[in-house]
Structures are given as structure tokens and as C-alpha cells.
């Protein structure tokens, strides 16, 4: 048994690694992170008086602090003409960076495009006092356009009308830079791919090293350690999940046993359609219906609406704390039980009715055992195997229910954390949650295997 479990655990490691890698790479390959939304957006900064440049500087500082300016992976494939692939952020502002990128793509030589940008900056500085209206429009064109012909035209105009000699000299240098760019152009260079090896100084390597040491990074939105956030959330979810699972299991087993017996006929006629009906109500509608009915001053104020309890100045005894907790958790737990009951009951009921028709049940009946004894000691024991399979598959359904319940009843658990981090694109937390869910899944399979061995000694023989 021991070596078997060890083997399963060792097999789980590459699966977890692959999953985490996939989530990490996907989350960073696609544009739009927490930072871009919070810092760069005008609406986000409604109350701050910061200008566009301040916001961009703050964003750059944030990107450097969280290590997002490093290359993503060991190896990258980029068009040969892409300037940022070689050295990111060589220019002073984002507009210049964008123009540099466009010129390099269009004319295929980043070095000459960069020389042009530097010359234009020198030209701007050569107007010792600020340039007047006429020149400002021309300079703006020089800073944004990405075709050589209009750029050349504009520079020639500047040379023709500029009064100061130093401006004319600077403009002439811009013109030569443009000439160089035109002579050295390779218009189709963007079609050639170029491989770049970044070595170990990349985001993925550093993230993986830290993750192996048990550090999953920091949340983008709260800057707290992801491990701490996850532990707190799991602590809140765990008891709710366990309690509702136990209650569901007991009800499903007892209900199925009662329905399977002869006197359960009436119960069966009543309960099975009810469960069928319950199954077709989506979890969030059911939770909201219960909330509106049972935790609402307009109808019945039986339960508190949101949260996990209130803060008390004095220390409560364990019993009082438990009472308060169960008062607040009653409605969420009821929702979870109701979500999962239909599926579990129908599966358990099928397993039990199958066992009721088996030969050993007929034998037990023939030797004169009471119906209750048959069900308890023969049928239930033999239908344990399918029930274990159902339970281990049942965990994901339970998890899905938890997301909905926790979000609706504002319980700070793992499901609410997931929804929040999805809405705010908090990828470190998201990666952590995916890992936790996968670990739970794998753990539940291993526990199911152990349970198989316990339920059926024949399987124990095979596991050696």
C-alpha cells in the first residue's frame, strides 16, 4: 500500500508542474494585467491629479518592481525587425517607443530607426526657447508618423523656414538619419523570425525557483503573499465544505436505503421527482431564492444575510463561537447540501438498487435475515465501491457550488477569492488557486484508492 501511494504522489508532480506552467505562461502571454487596468486607465485615477506621464512612470516602476519587464521564457521568437526584443525601453517615452517599433517593423532596421529617434530629440532640444505653433505641429508629426516620405518632407520644410542656424543643423542631421534609414531599409525583414536565448534571467525561471521553495509570489492587488492569502481562504472554506459534504452524504445514504426498501415506495414516488426538479434549478438561482426567502426582513428574517459573524470585544468561549459560526453558516451549508443532493442521491440509489438484485442479497433473504439487516450489512457494504467512485468525482461539483455560495453569501473563502482574482486579473493568486484545486483533486483520487482497498480486499491484493 505504501509504495503504491508513493508512486501516485510522484506521478502527480509532473502533472502539477505542467498545469502551473500552462497557467503561468498563458496568463502572461495575453495582454492586460491588473497593473495596466488600475494604473493606466483614466477612470481608475479619477481622484488623483496625476498626469498621463506620471501614470506611465508609476506603471513602469510597478512593472519593474514585480519583475514583469524581464523576458517571459528562456527562449523567444520575434520578427528580426522588432526593436524591443533586443533591448526593451530604450527611449524616453512610450510614444517614442511606439514610433520606434513601427519604424523598425516597416523598414526592418531597428538601429537606424533608433538613430532617427535620437536625432529628433536633439532637434527638439535645439529650439532653446519653446517652439512656436507652426514648428510644434511639425515636430509632433516627426514624433508620430511612421512613413519616410512625409517625414523627409517635413524636415525639409523646417530647414527652409527655421531662422536659427543650430536648428537648421540639427534638422539636417535628422535628414541624414532618414536617408540612412531609407538606404538601409529591408522592408520584408519582419517576416524573418529570430530566436533569442535569454538564459535564466527570465520571469518563468525565477517564478519556478520561488514556487519550488514554497513562495508563490505576491498578489498584484494587495501585495500580500499568495500563500498567506490561500491558507486563510482555505481555512474559511474547509469547515463549510466538510460539514455540508457529511450532511449530504448522510441524507443521500439514508434516503436511498429507505427508498430501496419495499415500504419506501411512497417516499420514492414523492422524492425522486422532487430531486429531478431540484437538479434543474441552477445553483446561483437556488442560493438567491433562499437568500430572498429566509434572510430578508420582507419575508422571513431567520438567518443573517452576509459574512462569517461579527467582532466581539471580549473573548468568546469555544461553544459560543461555534454557535455563532453555525448560525452564520447554516444558510450557505443548506444551499450546498441542496445543490449536491440530487446527483448524489440518484447515484447512490442506483448503486443500491443494483445491489438489491444481486444473488447474495437473494441468498441473505432466503436464509431469513430481516430486511434491515440485509440492507445494512450486505447491500450497503457491496455498493460501497461505486459510492467511493462517485464521492471522488463529486469533489469538483462541490467546489463549483462553493464558488457560487461563497460569492453570494460573502464568505471570504477560496471560491470568492477565485471570482475576485478573475475579475481583477490577479494572476499570481489565480495560479495559486488552480494549483490548490488540482492538489485537492489528486489527493481525493489517492484517498479514493485507499478507500477502495479498504472496501474491497481483492483490490488490495492488486495494489502491491
Amino acid at each position: 500500500m505504501g509504495p503504491y501511494i508513493l508512486k501516485r504522489v510522484l506521478w502527480a508532480i509532473p502533472a502539477l508542474w505542467g498545469l502551473a506552467t500552462a497557467v503561468f505562461l498563458l496568463s502572461r502571454l495575453l495582454p492586460g494585467t491588473f497593473g495596466t487596468e488600475q494604473i493606466l486607465q483614466r477612470e481608475g485615477a479619477y481622484f488623483s491629479k496625476g498626469s498621463e506621464t506620471d501614470r506611465k512612470a508609476a506603471y513602469r516602476e510597478y512593472v519593474a518592481r514585480t519583475g514583469q519587464d524581464l523576458p517571459l521564457f528562456y527562449l523567444s521568437v520575434n520578427p528580426k525587425s522588432q526593436a524591443s526584443a533586443i533591448t526593451p525601453h530604450l527611449t524616453s517615452s512610450d510614444n517614442a517607443q511606439e514610433q520606434l517599433e513601427k519604424l523598425s517593423w516597416r523598414y526592418g532596421s531597428p538601429a537606424h530607426a533608433q538613430a532617427y529617434i535620437a536625432r529628433v530629440e536633439a532637434l527638439e532640444k535645439s529650439f532653446e526657447t519653446s517652439a512656436d505653433e507652426l514648428f510644434r505641429a511639425k515636430l509632433a508629426l516627426l514624433r508620430t508618423n511612421d512613413h519616410i516620405a512625409p517625414l523627409q518632407q517635413t524636415v525639409k520644410e523646417i530647414i527652409a523656414i527655421a531662422p536659427q542656424p543650430q536648428v537648421r543643423a540639427a534638422a539636417a542631421k535628422v535628414l541624414t538619419a532618414l536617408q540612412n534609414l531609407k538606404q538601409q531599409q529591408q522592408p520584408l525583414a519582419f517576416l524573418l523570425p529570430q530566436w533569442t536565448w535569454h538564459g535564466t534571467n527570465n520571469q518563468y525561471h525565477q517564478w519556478l525557483l520561488r514556487a519550488l521553495q514554497g513562495n508563490l509570489g505576491e498578489s498584484y492587488s494587495s501585495s500580500r503573499s499568495v500563500t498567506a492569502i490561500l491558507l486563510e481562504a482555505i481555512g474559511n472554506t474547509w469547515w463549510l465544505l466538510l460539514c455540508s459534504m457529511l450532511v449530504t452524504l448522510v441524507i443521500a445514504l439514508e434516503g436511498s436505503v429507505m427508498m430501496a426498501q419495499k415500504r419506501g415506495n411512497l417516499l420514492r414516488k414523492f422524492l425522486l421527482p422532487l430531486l429531478f426538479l431540484l437538479d434543474s434549478i441552477p445553483p446561483f438561482v437556488l442560493a438567491l431564492l433562499l437568500l430572498v426567502l429566509l434572510a430578508n426582513p420582507d419575508f422571513l428574517q431567520l438567518f443573517p444575510v452576509y459574512g462569517m459573524g461579527y467582532y466581539m470585544p471580549q473573548k468568546l468561549s469555544l461553544w459560543q463561537e461555534l454557535m455563532q459560526w453555525s448560525y452564520y453558516m447554516a444558510l450557505p451549508a443548506l444551499c450546498l447540501v441542496l445543490f449536491n443532493l440530487p446527483y448524489l442521491t440518484s447515484q447512490v440509489y442506483n448503486a443500491i438498487t443494483a445491489a438489491m438484485q444481486a444473488d447474495y442479497t437473494r441468498t441473505a433473504r432466503a436464509k431469513g435475515l430481516s430486511e434491515a439487516a440485509i440492507v445494512r450489512s450486505h447491500v450497503l457494504r457491496n455498493s460501497l465501491l461505486p459510492i467511493i467512485t462517485i464521492l471522488s468525482d463529486f469533489l469538483p461539483a462541490l467546489v463549483t457550488g462553493t464558488f457560487i455560495v461563497e460569492t453570494i453569501f460573502a464568505i471570504p473563502g477560496i471560491g470568492r477569492l477565485l471570482i475576485e482574482s478573475v475579475l481583477s486579473r490577479d494572476y499570481p493568486v489565480l495560479t495559486g488557486i488552480v494549483l490548490v484545486v488540482a492538489i485537492f483533486r489528486i489527493a481525493s483520487y489517492i484517498v479514493a484508492d485507499v478507500a477502495y482497498a479498504w472496501a474491497d480486499p481483492r483490490i488490495k491484493q492488486k495494489m502491491r
Binding site: K102, L188, P297, A397, F403, L418, V422, V434
Partner: protein, 353 residues
Amino acid sequence: MRRLWQQEAAFKGAALYLMLLLVLVLLLPWLPLSYAPNQLDLAHTLQAPFEGTATAAHWLGTDDLGRDVLSNILYGARTAFFISVPVMALSTLLGLVLGTSAGYFGAMGLRTSRKNLLLLVCTLLLLCYYGLYLPLQIQRLGLGVQMIFESLSVCIVLPMLLYGILKALYPYTPFLRASVAVPVDPAVLRLTEALSTIPRFVLILVLASFLPPSVLLLSLIIVLTLWTGTARLARAEMMRIKQLPYFEAAQSIGLNGRQLIWRQALPNLLGPVLVAFTFGLGGLLALESTLSFFNIGVPSTLVSWGRMIAKVRSNTSAWWLVVFPGAILSLTILALYTCNHYLSKIFQEKSTG
């Protein structure tokens, strides 16, 4: 089917309800509704149902922005069906193709020359780079249509060139002529396992968080994660059919692979797949409304049941916001499950004799 229609009242009711809803959804733009679904009636916010005056007849009440519940329910049904039916159809098709080929070919059944395999892999890589990555980057930088066109033409010309070279080399290189087995079955199985490592709902949420909110992208995500169920079913059915005497007879008279799959196996596969389709459609309706309830992956202008129900979270006394859309949603799912129940009964009877 006709016997079912005549004998089972529940099936008749469910099917009638679904058909009625479908007709309503299709005819909706021509119906005389007094309010558009996104029209704000700020004079009558949070109006309770059946209390409307003659001038503001909101039969089923309004939400906190004065949007009419009735027209939101009707247009929400339209959205739900327009998303769910194509998504389910596409994912069933994908699952059917992958599952059937996995079951038919197995691990060793599909053999091809190294030349074809090499060509396929290279073409896929080129397609990803020149057909997808470069155009997207050009689009992002705003560099114009001409460069996209150049990239796409490279994407077409290079595989053709490669094909020509490989074809010229083919007679002289034994390496290219050697035939290798494509492990279809293990590949499909591994992919299914990989997709089911974490619960589907979590997977969809995580993937949706990587992309901008858009109905099309969300549908794509759902199609790409939902096909595994159909694929597993189709694979199992195909493997069962392969063992049946009639299929072996068809093989022995020398029918080719295409005829075997299309003419012999598929008609027998379709029953179970149809059952899975109706069941999956119910689940998909619930999924779509849950996602729009959380406002994940869909733009907030999308009219849907979930968006309407979400409004009740800020005003728990506005019961009509959850009761009416919730009832229609549950009824629709119930009708689908009922049809599914009776359909699966028929096919079970058929397959057992």
C-alpha cells in the same frame, strides 16, 4: 419517437414548451414589446410587478435602473439560445470527430508516411506564426493591411514550397517513405485527462480571465473545454460498434474507412450523442447564466438572465428580479432534462433489443 409523443404527457409538455420558446425567441424582434431590454426608465425604478399604471406598464416590474423585466427575460432567452445552441453544436461536432477517430483508429490504426507527418507539423507551426502571431502584432501596432497581407501570403506560399520539395525528395529518400503510426487514441485520451484535471467551471473562469470580455471568445473557450464529454462517449460507442458482427461484416466485404465510419458507424452513434446533446444544452444554459451573473467573460451590455438576477444582490427585497428569470431558466432546463430522460430511455431500449 411518435409513440413517446402520444404516450408520455411529460415529454409532450416539455417538447411543446421548448418549441414555443424557440418560436418566441426567433420572432422576438417583430413582437410589439413596449420597452427595449436596455431601455432605462428612470422614472419607474424598482417597480414591483402588476403595479404598473397605464402609461408605464411594466408587467413584471423593473430593476434598479428601470429596465423592464419582461423584455429582459424574453431577450435573455434569445441570448441564452443564440449562445448555447451553436456552442453545444460545435463542441459536440469536435467531440464526435475526435472521439470517433480515437475509437476507430486506436493507437496503431492510422498510418501515414513521414513525409505527410512532417508536412502537417511544419504547416501548423507556420500557420501559428505567420497566420496568427504576426497579423495580431501588426494589428496591435496599427501598421496597415498591406503587411498583414504579406504575412498571410508567406503563410500560404511556404507550405506549398515545402510540399513541392518534399514531393521531389520523396522517391529518393527512404526516410520520408517510411510509414509511422499516428497514436490518435492515446493523444485524445491524454488531452481529455489534461482538460479534466481541474473542474470545468474553474477552467473556464481562469481562461476567461486571460481574454477581454467578449461573447465570441467566451464561446470559443467553452467549445474548447466542453468537447471532452462527447468525445469520451463517442470513443466508447465506437469501440463497442467495432466489435459488433454487422461492423465486422462490413469490414470483411472491403469497405474503406470513410464508408465504414460514415455509412455504418455514425448512424448508430447519433442516438447517444443526441441524448448527450440535450443534457449538455441544459448544463450550458446554467453555465451561461452563471457566468453572466458573475459578469465574467461577457460584456456588461449583453442582455441576459444572469445579469437581471444579479441585480437582486443589491436589493434583496426586489424578489421579482430573481423569481421570474429564475423560473424561466429552471423551467427551460427542466424541459431539456425531461426530454433527455425520455430520449435516453428509448435508445436504451433500442440497444438492449
